[in-house]
């Protein structure tokens, strides 16, 4: 139960941060220029996307057996 609550809260935080990072005004920062030949905005979106997936994977790894029926 304890782990389940913790996972829930962390995942909710991911949602909030994702909402902020994937919307204006932050997106506006990356309007121009390129990184390694890739347009900034495109690079940024995929980077954040990847990080979010990684973070979610790590969060859901927390104690995989105990929360089964909670």
């Amino acid at each position: 139960m304890r782990y389940s609550v913790k996972i829930r809260q962390l995942l909710f935080a991911v949602f909030i941060f994702g909402m902020l990072l994937f919307n204006q005004p932050i997106l506006g920062i990356f309007n121009n220029g390129t990184i390694a030949g890739i347009p900034n905005l495109l690079f940024y979106i995929f980077l954040i996307w990847g990080i979010i997936i990684l973070v979610m994977a790590l969060i859901t790894l927390i104690n995989p057996t105990k929360t089964k029926k909670n």
Partner: protein, 917 residues
């Protein structure tokens, strides 16, 4: 250009593989060795989200409008973390209530309403049929391109192709067959379609690999990697704004698109089917939370490079960007890659079509047709007939109807819209489910009429602002409707409702429809009272974790029904074997003899109703059951009461927790009390020892002197007088001691009678001093008491005198032998009379100051003077008396410096008259 026979052969092989996988999946499921029961298959099956729209349309969207296509995948990525709560609850509720579709979910939540279920079904069909047609269009046009490229025939409008030559028609037929074979194996829609899920997961792998293949091909064969494509694209002036989202975000559409896709991943019928109905284990969500977004990310990596590559490669040629994934390989004669891409597109489209048609057919048959058909005379007349065949026929028929609706829609209007637009229209339609669905899951206040008005207003706004304009652009409705508004009223222009301009059509529709939808849902819910069944369903849904399934079976519903009738009913829908198994299991669990009882209890009725819900939908199941059950109407209060009771059970466990902590506290206190008791016991023992000693000493001397007198009758008179004097003194001492004990006992047991009178305290003190005057003089002790005023208090004269005497005799006992001095004074401090009696004796140490007022206690230092001291009860009695007067008594002292005993009495009255000295 590829030979048509080759394309058809490869397609045929691919479809055959699908059939085989589905067949194998079902076979394994029947053997009890599921192949899909793991989180990877679950996540892959969810990727049915990526339809032909993703496969072909994303590139087209990226080429035409830039990066906003990504929102369609960012939305679900952001919803994924919320699955932990939302999807889990959806699955739990659906499993518990045998829910098989969104329509059933909403209908069941709001009191098993047929009207609501029907409404949701209509919205879903209207929203999804165009989406299905979009898939058919994609298959058809991709086939035309791959078989005719670069022939301009490829761009023939679908209306102009005869049905008999139309690939889409044959595809529709094959998909209908597939959906019927693997989507309607059984009447019970809650039984999973494992073969179907396995095939969908396989298709997800195929479309991903195909898309990656063309992506790598374009990026690394046609160009020299990402930076090469982007360098060329950025040099070309046309594309510079493409990597700039400001154009989209200014209109709010970036955020809007994320929101709409968040709803889509939950409420698209095909997503609900795979994520909820086909879910094997809710813990699969754990991995799907990140696996599914990962799939979305991977399939999107090459979208922008392909779009840029196509734009650069074809330059000014009129090639539809939706077809770049096919036309790019074809343009450089890579027909093999083009064929793989075609198969990939086919897998994306077929996956969506099959699942969507199965999901829609469940809705249409259970929530639209069943309530009507089950009320028909035919069904009622043949009470014993097995209805399973009839049910399957209806479900299969609706699959065919849904698919061909899609086909005809495609024939009629499908060609006028790009893939993305049709997809978004569907998204906007299913977004209408969000308020009543989410509201119903987390808010008990939502009611049937609230949900109905929300859904209807949202749906009509959607139809007016999105469906009508799409019909106008297809040439079915007059242009003037858009340009001049309905009835020529500019304020009712479908694309600028109430004068709202500046948003793109999708955002415009989304804004108004969700505004009306959410608004009326809440407002009507708040003002219209729910019925009993709505209320109980609301609680069962929202508090799904608080109620055990056993409770639901038993408590709600008060009726009885003939067991035979129930068995007959269930048998008609799920067959004799399964029906009997269910009844026997119930009987065994509840220790009932099935053959001997005639009336079923509410638990059994609920069980049958739940089971029927899975087959014919909750609203229809309700209708069937209520025709059998003699139900006492359950009032709102009763429902509240039942729910309350169960809540109390849950509350009870919380209560238990609280109690146990209270218990700990009590134990702690008890331990402390016990410690105290032990010391008290010790004191009591000591006291009894003392008291016995005190009683025995005078007794011994009384006896000794009496014996002397008895044995020596000739003793002289003087001597005799002396002895008798001692005997009298000792018996007096005995009497005093016994009186004290009796006093204490009386006060403690509250038997003491008090006689309160107003009395002059100075006079009382003087009386006490006078009484002891002789003793003081004997011991040469100086006593001073010089009051200035008369002070009157209300007190029991005799008792107070006893206190003062006790304090004086204490002072007397402990006074210095050489120059003893006792000072008595009185004053008024903060409306209390304070009397103090000071001696200059040995004093009392600090530890003893606290305990000398407790009964059975004496100051330890007093042991050597014990022969003077009485029982150790005097001070205790004094304290009891003073406290009975609402006063306080205490001592101030230091060892060796004498002691000051003080006591207070409340409410003194000062007499102005001075005391004459």
């Amino acid at each position: 250009m590829l030979q048509e026979w080759l394309i058809l052969a490869v397609s045929f092989i691919y479809i055959s593989i699908l059939f085989f996988i589905a067949y194998y999946g079902d076979k394994r499921a029947d053997e009890g060795r599921s192949i899909i029961s793991n989180p990877y298959f679950y996540a892959l099956s969810l990727a049915v989200y990526c339809s032909a729209w993703t496969f072909y349309g994303s590139v087209g969207h990226a080429a035409n409008t830039g990066l906003s296509f990504l929102t369609i995948y960012i939305g679900p990525t952001l919803m994924a973390p919320l699955w932990w709560v939302i999807l889990r609850k959806m699955i739990r509720i659906s499993k518990r209530h045998h829910i098989t579709s969104i329509a059933d979910f909403i209908s069941s939540r709001y009191g098993k309403s047929t009207v609501l279920g029907g409404t949701v079904t209509v919205i879903a069909v209207m929203g999804i049929v165009p989406y299905i047609s979009l898939q058919l269009k994609a298959i058809s046009s991709s086939y035309l391109i791959i078989s005719h490229y670069p022939d301009t025939l490829a761009y023939t409008l679908p209306q102009h192709i005869p049905v008999i030559q139309d690939t889409a028609f044959y595809v529709t037929v094959v998909l209908a067959l597939f959906a019927i074979l693997f989507g309607t194996r059984n009447t019970d829609a809650t039984e999973r379609h494992e073969g179907l899920v396995a095939a969908i997961a396989f298709e997800s792998v195929v479309k991903l690999l195909a898309f990656l293949l063309v992506g790598v091909f374009v990026t690394y064969t046609l160009f020299n990697g990402f930076s090469d494509i982007f360098a060329k694209a950025l040099n070309d002036g046309r594309f510079t704004t493409m990597f700039n989202e400001s154009a989209d975000t200014e209109k709010g559409s970036w955020f809007g698109l994320i929101l709409i896709s968040m709803f889509a991943i939950l409420f698209l019928p095909r997503q609900f089917q795979l994520a909820v109905v086909e879910n094997v284990d809710e813990d699969h969500i754990r991995k799907a939370i990140w696996l599914f977004p990962l799939y979305l990310l991977i399939i999107n990596i090459f979208v922008v490079p392909i779009a840029m590559g196509g734009l650069i490669h074809f330059q000014t040629e009129a090639v539809d960007a939706d077809t770049f994934v096919l036309t790019l390989p074809l343009a450089v004669k890579q027909t093999g890659i083009a064929l793989v891409v075609f198969i990939g597109g086919l897998s994306a489209a077929t996956g969506m079509v099959v699942v969507a048609s199965v999901a829609l057919s469940t809705m249409v048959s259970n929530d639209l047709l069943m309530p009507i058909l089950l009320g028909s005379r035919y069904v009622k007349a043949n009470r014993e007939q097995d209805l399973r065949g009839f049910l399957l026929l209806i479900r299969r028929g609706t699959i065919i109807i849904v698919l061909f609706l899609g086909y005809f829609y495609y024939k009629l209007v499908g060609s006028h819209y790009s893939l993305v637009n049709i997809g978004l229209i569907s998204f906007a339609a299913v977004a209408q489910f969000a308020p009543s669905f989410l509201g119903g899951m987390f808010w008990k206040g939502g009611t049937r009429y609230g949900a109905l008005s929300g859904l209807l207003s949202g749906f009509f706004t959607w139809g007016y602002t999105l469906a009508i304009p799409s019909l106008v652009s297809a040439g079915i409705l007059p242009e003037s409707l858009i340009t001049e508004g309905f009835l020529g009223l500019a304020i009712l222009k479908p694309t600028a409702l109430f004068g709202l301009t500046g948003l793109d059509p999708i955002m415009h529709a989304l804004f108004w429809s969700l505004l009306f939808n959410t608004g009326s849902y809440f407002i009507v819910s708040i003002f219209v009272k729910p019925s009993a069944i709505e209320l109980s369903q609301a609680t069962l849904f929202v508090d799904i974790n608080k109620y055990s399934p056993e409770f639901e079976h038993r408590s709600l519903g008060r009726g009885t029904a003939p067991v035979a009738e129930l068995r007959l009913l269930l048998r008609r829908f799920i067959g004799e074997k399964k029906s009997e198994r269910l009844f026997k299991a119930y009987a065994r669990k509840n220790d009932i003899d099935l053959e001997s009882i005639t009336q079923a209890d509410s638990g059994m009725i609920n069980l049958v109703e739940k089971r029927l819900s899975g087959v014919i939908g909750s609203a229809s199941a309700r209708i069937m059951i209520s025709s059998l059950v003699k139900e006492k109407p359950v009032s709102l209060d009763e429902v509240m009461h039942i729910l309350d009771e169960t809540q109390q059970i849950v509350a009870y466990s919380h209560e238990l927790e609280r109690k146990s902590s209270e218990l700990q506290e009590a134990t702690r206190k008890l331990k402390k009390a016990n410690e105290k008791l032990k010391t008290m016991d010790q004191f009591k023992d000591d006291f009894i020892a003392t008291i016995t000693h005190e009683l025995r000493t005078p007794l011994t001397s009384v006896r000794a002197f009496s014996e002397i007198l008895y044995d020596n009758p000739e003793i002289d008179v003087l001597q005799r007088q002396n002895f008798l004097g001692i005997i009298i003194k000792e018996t007096e001492r005995l009497t005093r001691l016994i009186n004290q004990i009796l006093d204490l006992q009386k006060i403690e047991s509250q038997e003491m009678e008090w006689h309160f009178n107003t009395l002059n305290i100075a006079g009382l003190i003087k009386e006490a001093i006078e009484g002891m005057q002789k003793l003081f003089e004997e011991k040469n002790i100086k006593v001073s008491f010089n009051p200035d005023h008369h002070i009157m208090v209300k007190a029991d004269r005799d008792r107070l005198l006893q206190v003062i005497l006790n304090l004086l005799s204490n002072a007397f006992k402990f006074c210095n032998d050489a120059d003893g001095e006792i000072v008595i004074s009185m004053s008024i401090e903060s409306s209390n009379l304070v009397v103090s009696i000071q001696d200059n004796g040995i004093g009392i140490n600090e530890a003893d100051q606290k305990i000398i007022f407790e009964k059975f206690r004496q100051a330890k230092t007093s042991s050597k003077t014990q022969r003077h001291a009485g029982s150790g009860l005097g001070l205790s009695i004094a304290r009891q008396i003073i406290e009975a007067h609402n006063g306080k008594i205490w001592v101030e002292s230091k060892t060796g410096e004498g002691a000051v005993f003080k006591f207070t009495l409340p409410n003194p009255v000062l007499k102005e008259q001075e005391i004459q000295k």
